[in-house]
Symmetry: D2
Subunit: 398 residues, 4 copies
């Protein structure tokens, strides 16, 4: 296949890596035990804490996001512990799989893949758990497979009201640095993230942010673990170092990505994502297609999953768009295969990249003979409407 | 200004440099007198000739395109020689200025900046010139300031029919490797080009392609010249070298750009430009705006200059689009200042980049309260119409 | 600190990343579930197998080498299993630590950090183990902390002769693609490696190569594991994919690194390392200093650890060299702190880079008033001696 | 040829481009008529003036250094004008050639290619020229073909004492930003330079720095010129722009190179060059070879030309070193072909890069059976001698 001009990578992550980040990584490796690295390491760890408004330790792994999921469980729990996981979609199913592989007892609260985690369900389950069997509640903040954002603050409120001591573990892989997330305010115990979404890096780094309570739990955890063990990492981090060879060039990229976020301002980053997401939703409505997320307040600002009409294969649409317009869209995962396609609108992204994306989708749908309205026109109208300035300030899902 | 996501550089050159070309240039410099450079130099010179279907020497200057313009005159003519230059726009005016600065006698055939060079006018002037006072005819193949393409083959036919011995000098700066150009078939004597348009490189290289007749003329030329002198360059080129330090990294980029053109196929490159240009014109028509080029057969496949309605300042539109959507459009040059803006749709460019461009223009026009129709919709329709496949094969302007 | 000119990164890994590899990684990320990635994934997996002359599966982790160590144990063993680990230096101690953290029973055969794994000791221990308590023998092929290479083939012979069924797990982190290693011939069960040494990539990838016997063992292993689990990776690899988001840009780098190794030829790569290592040893001898590795047949071809005279602090020498000459050398790890410094001479490395390295060390030693002879002269003599051609073919340590 | 590790580019320019400069150039092109470019252009022009301690205009050409030579003559003189050029070597011969090609009357003061421009000769010639026939004196500050630095200040004194009104044109191509050069203090009228030496950029930019007197002369100059004309460039520069498309990516590189020079400090840059040059000369003396430059006070701090013994072909040595050690050295130019080779020790360069270079030369000489002493040892001794700190402060050649 001949690529002419730019490929449009509009899957919901990995996202488009900004040139500045790529350039920051295109450089010689340095000694990870030398003074220059120590400065770099400290700068990044401080920068991460500042950006994410937390005073908790940030743990950087050479791993995918999935590795960081495992780390969150393996550091805090013990074999046989019971955890509550909300079924939100494909990635909650992966959490369940990880939990079960590790030997945890998983209570999987069923969901229809179109709604976020239910605070009411959580309340019922946790209220019934007077003996505090549940050691952790795991929730995916933003389900990358469905485009549904769960209300973490509401869950937290329920847990607070019940005084339930379970750890709150939040998968913020596709929300961090894109959708408002308040680690300390929401008293999240372990936040799980990766480098390749809102942080605008290539894949290669997994992250945990760890509360004091989680740290305390890690001392009692009886899981055999070494690579993902927090303690040795936190110890080495104090001097800016890592117990194992860190991904040096990714670290240079991460420093630059943090600079980009700081320059734009995190509030502006969130507002930009909200605005571009709303424009996307305007397009879907005008196309006459269905957004998978049924509750408007839960629709994700980082991706939109679109249900194709009966009789249409979403993968045929995706393939058509890839072959004709050199744009990658997200596949329907798990039971959504062929039923939805997903548009990623997060990371280093702007109005015209979104416009191109929507044009590509609109043309692809027409080439596949899906009868649709003019979504592009609706999105452009939204983006130029006087009121859209107001829409920039997205209400936090609290 | 915070750039988030990609800037859209949609001026009619410099064009977007493909990542592969940037990467080819991001490397250590090598000895320009060593064996590795000799191989590189020969490979590029052969590749240029092949791509441009010429057996004539290709001269590579470290210069802007303007330097290559001067070179074409300084190598072939002598002070006081009379040359015929067609007024096609701002860049023909620069040719006139260069000619006059060099001390040539310029006959500047007037034009209205909306039409190409007139073969009829050429015929009249050259027929009247029985004593062969005109030593050269200079024509801009594709006027970058107006988006008008002149019919070189027709001019050549006139010159042939009259048996006029003047040299034919063609400025192909914004047409080469984008619009069909036939150096040998059209018997062009000096082709003038630069690196930063269809060749998809950054600015930094100027080019001449030189016929045997032009080479012969250069021996009689009495202009003082050194840097731009063809003879010493051609001599050194035989071994793959250059008489002066060549722009080494640009050469690596040029090798990669030639590979890209070869992989896509020059015919496909032309068809792609024709198709994207036609989509742009569909948009302009649907907007209800005027294309500066009045004759549909002369409308450029590499850029479109759009006339803004009376009372509107084109520069306000451009500035709005730059500030709101981070897209650069071409300014109205010379007497067109404020009256037109120009969309570049050439080089490393594809459907979705064009879609983004047109969306940006449409939103910018609306934000400036210019009453317009739905140009984007028209363009998307064209790009997905079954017949648009046929339109891919653009008729050569002959 | 002002860097002028190039930094010399002469730690024994991460090694200097070749420009071609850096450039291959400096590019847009692609969809890790799309057809282009599938081709890339398959190409890399096939290339790895070919380069390492194995028909066994190669497992690619987003991890440091340490992660791959853990993976080798967690996939093949069960809690409480007894493993035999040879004390060869700091990295064997890390193996012990990993083993103990995972809950394995470790028999740690003591060593003096100056010799390789003792086949005689192995024979004694395994012969005494008639009930086959030892489930695995773990050996570091090339101890990065000491510069000692162990004779894997000899160990294998012992195991074969005794018919002991323990798995043979080999840490080839600082030997792979630099020192002759024969996975299939030596019947290694799990090879553990990373990206940042002989593979010339930045850190970020950990590797396992897995024998059929190890694969069989993995089915019986009772360690809780998810991220490092071989089965799901091998399954996804069949289509060129990965179960979790792979480190896309590292994959492009890996493809280029494999191309570099193929172009040079693995035999030539080994010979080059042997030759540059021998030159280094000539220098150390001429300096009158002691090589930590006592047995000449075990001296590593990828790094040399040099013992400083009594009363000298090796870290003062390292710091002097870093500050005066912008060269990073390897620190003395664990109990060797302050007693040795280590020169890395592996990866993308050549005669003049070695010459610079040795000059830097010689000047640093003199600035620290260590009385030494002319090591540089000896190395240069070796490198230009007619006989040094013969020395290029290093005898395999078998 | 397989490159393993880094190529050593030790010709006296183009020099090794620092990674930071390469990375600054590896980025998207921007609109050269837009507001972002205006800021860049102004910043660079101001930075150049500051670095070169001049209040005169700096002219940036897309050209090789040779183009900037032509520009200096074509802007200030008229056909038939007489100029005085000192024969210092191959590059003074190119100046003569350019002058003659342009139609100037050249008085070429003979030299033996081993000495700098003779102030005594200058005095004799200019004193005899009471009618001020000489319109310009052209001198190469640092002859790249011979490694001889001429005393510009002394020449200036002679001209001052005689009150001779000729323009002083200085070729600082291989001295600028490496050897002390004082544009305003020495009252140089036109300084000629290129990007690829001390400025550490790839080739592609030529420079003039222009005194008020030269600017005045340019108004009377009758050479036909357009591309190289100062007036239109200076006019456009006032707004940060250029009359023709500037080499955008080179401009980003230039900004970064100026930052590098500023960070190190120009005095330190000069001292570093002096120190590394002196180390090189120590090596040549110890080898028992002859430095081409006969007067120690004129030996260049940016390159050293070394005379090979009778019966030895310098090109065989160079080829041997290139093929065996992947290092490029400077060829003997013009009448020095085969008699000398040249070591470039300028630009982004440090002690260990020099050590590698000298080791490569020493090994190459030995492989070619040239009987030599231990130059490397002498250089290392110099570089670590307590007194070498003093040598860092090179006496300005005044």
């Amino acid at each position: 296949m001949i690529h002419t001009g730019r490929h449009f990578l509009q899957i919901p992550g990995p996202t488009n890596v900004p040139d500045r980040v790529l350039r920051a990584m295109d450089r010689p490796v340095i000694d990870h035990r030398g003074p220059e690295f120590a400065i770099l390491g400290k700068e990044i760890l401080a920068g991460m804490a500042a950006i994410f408004a937390t005073s908790s330790p940030v743990i950087i792994y050479t791993s995918s996001g999935t590795g960081a999921c495992e780390a969150s469980l393996a550091n805090t729990l013990s074999p046989g512990d019971r955890v509550l996981i909300f079924e939100t979609g494909h990635f909650s199913a992966i959490w369940r799989q990880i939990g079960e592989r590790l030997g945890l007892a998983v209570t999987y609260i069923p969901g229809d893949w179109r709604r976020g985690a239910s605070a009411a369900e959580a309340e019922a389950r946790l209220r019934a758990d007077s003996s505090h069997v549940f050691k952790a509640v795991v929730v995916v903040h933003n389900e990358t497979s469905t485009g549904v954002t769960s209300k973490i603050a509401e869950l937290r409120r329920v847990m607070n009201q019940l005084g339930h001591p379970a750890l709150l573990i939040v998968d913020a892989i596709s929300s961090l640095a894109s959708i408002d997330y308040r680690h300390d305010e929401w008293r999240v115990d372990v936040m799980v993230c990766g480098s390749q979404k809102g942080l605008m890096l290539p894949p290669g780094i997994g992250l945990n942010v760890v509360s004091a309570k989680a740290l305390e739990a890690s001392k009692r955890s009886r899981f055999p673990r070494s690579y993902f063990d927090w303690a040795s990492i936190i110890a080495a981090n104090a001097q800016g170092f890592f117990p194992y060879t860190p991904p040096t060039l990714m670290m240079f990229g991460l420093r630059e990505a943090l600079a980009l976020l700081r320059e734009e301002g995190l509030e502006n980053v969130f507002a930009r994502h909200a605005r571009l997401a709303e424009a996307t939703r305007c397009a879907v409505v005008a196309w006459g297609l269905e957004i998978l997320a049924t509750d408007p307040r839960e629709r994700s600002n980082t991706l939109t999953a679109i249900v194709v009409p009966e009789g249409v294969d979403a993968d045929v649409i995706r393939t058509t768009i890839l072959e004709r317009f050199d744009m990658s869209l997200g596949v329907g995962l798990g039971k959504l295969k062929g039923r939805v396609f997903r548009i990623g609108h997060l990371g280093s992204f702007n109005e015209l990249m979104l416009a191109a994306t929507l044009c590509g989708v609109q043309m692809g749908l027409r080439l596949c003979d899906v009868p649709i309205g003019d979504g592009v026109g609706a999105a452009l109208e939204f983006l130029t409407a006087p009121k859209s300035g107001a829409a920039q300030r997205a209400p936090a899902l609290v």
